[in-house]
């Protein structure tokens, strides 16, 4: 019978385990280094790419800016147009209203009636002082206000006559406040 006695068995086992552990540590360390290296390369590449993109975009911006600078006169005119048209809109609406009121008033005034101190409120109320020398003109004017003719540019909503007097100069004077239906 052959007996095999190995006194180094435990030592060999321990050494093998140790070697395996070292191999494992070295492999993972190396792997970590490789991964880190890849990461560093990636970050550097990305940085370079970003730098390049930055240059390209900056060049593009410069090009567009010079193009816009060349078209600055057109832009200025466009800004001018929009800025002024906004104000013009406000002015035109008020102007049209005043124009319509004045034209309507001139159309409804009978011959022989004079007016003075005509004032137009923003709400469309028109106040003025009127005078005439004949009673006929006075009656005509009142009739016109009463009948409210449809041919007028604006229709009368309400008419207030006050302070009718017959003065020393032999004329009738009165104050009128007219309200129109504004379009």
């Amino acid at each position: 019978m052959k007996l095999n006695i190995n006194f180094l068995k435990d030592y060999v086992l321990k050494t093998r385990k140790k070697a395996q552990k070292h191999f494992f540590i070295r492999t993972w360390s190396l792997l970590a280094l490789v991964i880190y290296g890849v990461l560093v390369v990636a970050v550097f590449s990305l940085h370079l790419l970003a730098k390049k993109t930055n240059e390209v975009v900056k060049t593009g911006i410069k090009k567009e800016e010079s193009l816009i600078e060349e078209l600055r006169s057109i832009e200025m005119k466009q800004v001018y147009l929009t800025a002024k048209t906004k104000s013009l809109d406000e002015v035109l609406s008020g102007k049209k209203q005043h124009q319509q009121i004045v034209e309507t008033l001139l159309a409804l005034l009978p011959r022989g009636v004079s007016i003075s101190d005509l004032k137009i409120d923003p709400d469309g109320a028109v106040s003025f002082s009127a005078s005439c020398t004949s009673f006929r003109s006075l009656v005509d004017f009142f009739n016109i206000l009463k009948t409210n003719e449809t041919e007028l540019r604006l229709k009368i909503k309400k008419a207030d006559i006050s302070g009718v007097s017959y003065g020393l100069e032999k004329n009738y004077s009165f104050d009128v406040i007219l309200f129109f239906y504004l379009s």
Binding site: K77, T82, A83, L88
Partner: protein
């Protein structure tokens, strides 16, 4: 004793590789990697911002190129006629005079306070004096017209579409309708002087604003008065 020292050396030798790698990674991280990474993020956010700016600029330049220059020129010219940037004293009188001649009424008794006609710029570059504002401004002109009632009425009607822009504020009419006193408010607005940054979008006209511009295109053109009066002396040393 000797054996324990050998063991320690052995242990250090065994761990030297991972320690070296760890140290390398640490050193590289604090010296190069960290700063590069930070720079990258900084550049990336800057690039995002710049790319957005580039898109805006491209859109703006394309828009500006697509605008009809002739149409804009024509509109600006007409708008300047109807709604001027400077106080339109001379043009106003010329316009009223022109309408009165066409309608056969006598135009007289002008009273106006034009104030300052020329706008003054501050001497400092880019700064403007207080009086240069971008707001709507106006002044009132009082005048009389005399003629037949129909002519007076026609004159007033024509004020509606007369340049520069004016609004009737007050009116007095005589008994026979032949004499009419008018107070008219005249409007003007100074130019917006500063355009702002380049990437500011171009304002576009709305449909309503286009309609307004089309409407004022029908306004009567003012015949400009050109002063041809000779001033100065050709040779100040010449004998009379």
């Amino acid at each position: 004793m000797m054996e324990s020292t050998n063991l320690q050396i052995e242990k250090i030798k065994e761990n030297a590789f991972p320690i070296l790698i760890g140290t390398t990674i640490f050193l590289l991280t604090i010296t190069l990697f960290r700063s590069t990474l930070l720079n990258y993020f900084k550049l990336k956010s800057e690039n995002d911002r710049l790319e957005q700016k580039l898109v805006v600029l491209k859109r703006k330049s394309q828009l500006l190129q697509s605008l009809d220059r002739n149409e804009i020129e024509r509109r600006v010219k007409k708008l300047e006629e109807v709604f001027p940037s400077e106080k339109p004293v001379i043009n106003l009188i010329a316009s009223l005079n022109q309408i009165s001649q066409q309608e056969g009424v006598t135009f007289r008794g002008i009273q106006l306070e034009p104030g300052r006609i020329v706008k003054y710029m501050s001497e400092e570059v880019g700064k403007q004096a207080d009086l240069v504002t971008n707001e709507l401004q106006d002044f009132i002109i009082n005048f009389n017209i005399q003629g037949k009632l129909s002519a007076v009425t026609s004159f007033i009607s024509r004020l509606e579409k007369a340049a520069p822009l004016m609004k009737i504020e007050s009116l007095s009419l005589s008994l026979d309708g032949s004499n009419c006193s008018l107070a008219v408010r005249v409007y003007y607005q100074t130019l917006p002087e500063i355009l702002g940054v380049l990437d500011k979008p171009v304002p576009l006209l709305t449909e309503n604003e286009k309609e307004i511009l089309n409407e004022i295109a029908t306004y009567q053109k003012v015949e400009l008065i050109k002063t041809t009066v000779p001033v100065g002396k050709a040779n100040i040393f010449a004998l009379p």
